[in-house]
Symmetry: C2
Subunit: 235 residues, 2 copies
């Protein structure tokens, strides 16, 4: 489904060079359930942004369903055209950002419904799908609050609802339970487990070992490289 080959991501700041990703080879099959763990600053969000087609690598190849999304090398750069890329991002992938990235001046309801606007879903269906997504994360009674009128964990759940509203087949969740108490975390993980059973693909960055145990495959990142990649024996 997704194939990363020799992926690097480098930032040059003055005389410093930061190797956020330092040569990553990584394959994801359909319907996998993968957790990604690693120290703060090790490259997890950078990797997720590349998988989610939100960022391009400094070098390396990224294939999605066997099509080249981008290929950056010494001979030049090949990129998928803008429309095909937008379709992958808007219809196939749901992304929960580590820092939520909600529109501050718009209600929870409008924030959650935004992917449906981009996907040209008919208006009446938009309202229905948005309502359902909010109910799934327990926020039906907070639909008309703006982000500044929500608690931290409520904003996180709005970000989760927005990622799921368009029924994407690939869910990329970057620390989705970081601001949630254990009961609410369990409700969110039950959602993800359910989506996985419905044949979707789940990739979840977390720093909590209990959350990582839900996944079938466990990847550890250190200093921009994959340190280990193992099947979870307990699942």
């Amino acid at each position: 489904l997704i194939h990363l080959e020799k992926i690097t991501k480098t930032y040059v700041m003055g005389s410093d060079t930061i190797h956020a990703l330092d040569g990553v080879d990584f394959q994801i099959q359909k319907n996998e359930y993968i957790s990604i763990m690693g120290p703060s600053g090790s490259g997890k969000s950078t990797l997720m942004n590349i998988i989610g087609c939100l960022d391009t690598p400094t070098s390396g190849t990224y294939r999605f369903e066997d099509e080249i999304v981008c290929d950056v090398g010494d001979t030049g750069t090949v990129k998928m055209n803008g429309n095909d890329l937008a379709r992958i991002r808007n219809r196939k992938i749901g992304f929960v950002f580590q820092t939520f990235n909600l529109l501050p001046r718009v209600t929870a309801f409008k924030n959650v419904g935004l992917p449906l606007v981009y996907a040209n879903i008919p208006r009446a269906q938009q309202v229905q799908m948005t309502q359902l997504a909010l109910e799934k994360v327990g926020l039906a009674d907070r639909a008309h609050h703006k982000p500044s009128e929500l608690s931290g964990g409520q904003r996180q759940r709005v970000a989760i609802a927005r990622a799921l509203v368009n029924n994407p087949s690939i869910i990329l969740a970057d620390e989705p339970t970081g601001n949630l108490d254990s009961e609410t975390s369990n409700e969110i993980m039950a959602l993800f487990d359910d989506l996985h059973r419905q044949d979707n693909t789940i990739i979840l960055v977390t720093h909590e070992p209990d959350i990582a145990l839900h996944a079938h495959r466990s990847v550890h990142i250190l200093d921009g490289r994959i340190e280990s990649d193992e099947i979870n024996p307990n699942v």
Copy 2:
């Protein structure tokens, strides 16, 4: 040191009334180490903002070192004058926000040094104190990155460094390890434990039971009320 009496915080939204805090009585002595836990949306951040003099209650009294900071009742509102309030906020209290609240267009170094500017600390000393705070959270090599050039856990640590830079005697930390892996969390908790041993007062909102175990007193909040308030038997 801090005395909250009959504190309420109410938001009216159209026909809905939200009781974010619904009658809170709470006392904090000097050099206490208190954890606050509770479900998402239960009122923890609202309580912290009132303790930190960043928000005023809808009704009730807040005393700081026996002086009235604000007293809101049917007979009217009494508030401490602006200068005294600013001095408490800038010199006595260090606040780690749940959503970091960093200035986006300014480096980690300048973000961390901001409280020192407000406290009129001499320039050379500002640089020294800022450098030390960044080293304590392991971010000396990220000083000149802006928040968008930092990982989620690095931004959280910049927020922590900023809260500690002016050596406040009261530290209010709202979910300070939510974005940190366990090793980095332990380093941050070691910092807080140290500060407590140096006679400071620590109040820490967390949803992780392991983190709460560092505190000597454990408060649970539910639906805007204090549900339990107990000494931690293990410490």
